[in-house]
Amino acid sequence: MRQLLALIRLDLKLFLCDRRALIMLFIVPIGLASFMGSVFSNSGGKSSVGGGMGILLVDQDESAVSRGVVDAFASDPTFRVTVTNEAAARDMVLNGKRPLALVLPAGFGADALPGLFDTNRKPVITLLHDPSRNMERSMVEGMLVPKVIQAVAQNGLSADLGRDFIRRGLTNLDRATQVGAHEQQLYRSMMERADEFLATRTNRSLFGSAKGSTNGAPAKEFNLPLPFVTKAEALVKNTKGEYNGYAHAFAGMSLQFVLMSLLEMSVGLLRERESGMFRRLRAAPLSRGTLLLGKGLSYAIIGLLSLGGCFAFSMVVFGVRINGSWPGFLLCLVLTSLMSAALGLALAALGRTPAGTRGIGIAVVLLLLMVGGAWVPTFILPRWLQSAALVTPTRWALDSLDAMTWRGLGFEAALGPVGVMLGFIALFATITWLRFRWTAE
């Protein structure tokens, strides 16, 4: 036990003496997680993307309807709208300065309403997009439909437009030889009564008061109703706190740097072996198991300090909260640290030399981080990769931390990931035990 404690104390002292290691384990992950959190998170329920997604709108129609579409996008905090001409828009998208541009063509306002009923008269909205930004394209396409319908409803359904529509309908009726005389008369009668009604609404919005209120603002009495309304409900088990996207960013980034740093420490272990330090260690009555256990535990403690420090920072500065179980959260931190330490030692055992371990280790750690969801949410990965993520320890570590922080799940939710991580620890420890050489020559 005294030897074990001495080994642990040694590594902690060496770690505290190493300014570079301290920066790597505390400053860098905090900085990166803060940045990632601010870019990708939805802190406090306010969309941070809203300040960011710049799109271009080209209004070649300049009608009330097209202006309505532009206004609808401009007033949406998700977008940062720049109105420009088509040539400039093409240039900016082509050069990657904006992900996409919407071109509302001349005649858009006049054709939008008839386009609802006439398949031959639909205006074409051109969407110029950067092929590498399909996520943004899909998002804008999805948002386009309600915004156009809203603009058409507000600005297109006027009495004048309705009367014009009736006049054209009656003209077409005169030419419709296939319709019987009786039906023609009934239809004409109905349309003439509608025209009479619309005549009383000239210069007014269809169902509201005079177009343009006394303060000059457009009337908003009527919206063409959509067949549904959406109600967003953020699902977190414990509603004590709000969702805080920094929680995932800090889990991902701190795990990344813990893994990278512990890999570096394992490389250092092999350097100790090559430098002759192991000759002195082995001359003492010290077992290989005690050495490996001491190294593993000291690495785990260092990892735990880093993870704990990063989360403490995120709690103080970004308001991250443990909405789930505190014991569960602490257990997940401990298991994540142990799993990272065991992985580092296993990589040292497999790599055999410092250079070999660094080469293999960087590839493995980066793969585990990417697939495990430390950099990007796993849902945007291909389905097969999402399945593959289930056999990565990082995925389970991150899931467990997410569960205990922003998802607000209870202690029992930590048990599954903890069990899987214990399995990975056993696997890595076995590899280390079987493959780690400590012979001096």
């Binding site: 005294r2 002292k13 060496l14 003496c17 009555p285 012979t439 020559e441």
Partner: protein, 315 residues
């Protein structure tokens, strides 16, 4: 208690197809200082590794205190203090931190550890630098601290593997003084080196290794006595005429060879008294005047050369 502290019998170690140590046998008695001498690659470090339990021999056996070393945690390892050839120190830690760590590996703790660390630091003359990081030490100071680490647990047997490699003369002398003091304290020492003068100064017995084998194991005087190598006698001549007389010297009983370089005549003498008298008489007869005579006994270097056919520095 037996006088025999360490006994190695027929040690063999192979690395792949290469046999690094091939049937090495020797023993160390308590309080003895023995030099293990040999060029680089002779198998000295591999032998030390097997003696200290770092390597399992492929053949043969090591007994320490009459018992074989069994396993990494064998308590008999406490009898050993290894000073490895490499500087096995943590440079980012202080001298005291290093000593406290290595002391803990031998189960030292608390006041006993602090006392042992302080005593070891004083012994190697580094007490004033106890709180300084090792990376600020000179090469010689690191070597001395390397020695101090091995002394912490007060071992009976010290295995010093080339402890003066790369140190300045002052530190080297300090290490010599330390080893001599350890001898006075009754420690058993196995001192590995390829510096002949270190062995001559520090050891009573010499084991010479070459190509993984022991080629000689004797006291210094014993080695010199059993030599086949001749003494050399250097004669400074006043005047050198034609060299016809030189061949006559080699026919004299007790003279194995004669060489002339300028006015310096070197005689290889197998019988110093009779041979040299006869040679001087021969020179007088042929009117060669001798200004001075100087004799030289064979050195350990000569003995090594004679035993192995190569110089120690050949590597």
């Amino acid at each position: 208690m037996s006088d025999l502290l360490l006994d190695a019998q027929q040690l063999v170690k192979r690395f792949g197809p290469r046999t690094a140590v091939d049937g090495v046998s020797f023993s160390l008695r308590r309080g003895e200082a023995v030099g293990l001498l040999g060029p680089n690659g002779a198998g000295k470090t591999t032998t030390i590794s097997m003696l200290s339990g770092l390597l399992l021999p492929d053949g043969g056996e090591v007994r320490l205190g009459g018992q074989p070393i069994t396993g990494d945690t064998d308590p008999r390892k406490r009898l050993l203090g290894l000073v490895p050839q490499e500087l096995a120190l943590y440079e980012e830690l202080t001298a005291r931190d290093n000593l406290e760590f290595f002391g803990a590996l031998y189960d030292l703790a608390g006041a006993a550890l602090a006392t042992a660390a302080e005593s070891a630091l004083k012994f190697v003359g580094l007490a004033e630098r106890r709180g300084d990081k090792v990376k600020t030490f000179s090469g010689g100071m690191k070597r001395r601290l390397n020695l101090a680490v091995a002394l912490l647990h007060d071992p009976e047997l010290l295995l010093l593997d080339e402890p003066t490699v790369g140190v300045d003369p002052q530190s080297r002398n300090a290490i010599f003084d330390n080893v001599e003091e350890l001898r006075r304290r009754g420690k058993t020492i196995l001192y590995t080196t390829h510096y002949m003068e270190e062995v001559e100064r520090l050891c009573d017995r010499v084991i010479i290794m070459d190509h993984g084998r022991v080629v000689a194991d004797d006291t210094l005087s014993g080695l010199k006595q059993r030599r086949t190598h001749a003494d050399r006698v250097f004669c400074e001549l006043v005047e050198v005429r034609d060299g016809g007389w030189l061949a006559g010297l080699e026919g004299i009983a007790g003279i194995s060879r004669a060489e002339l370089a300028g006015t310096r005549l070197t005689l290889h003498v197998t019988d110093l008294h009779g041979g040299l008298s006869r040679a001087l008489e021969h020179l007088r007869r042929v009117d060669v005047v001798v200004a001075s005579v100087e004799s030289q006994s064979p050195s350990l270097e000569d003995i090594f050369l004679e035993l192995t056919g190569r110089s120690l520095r050949d590597g």
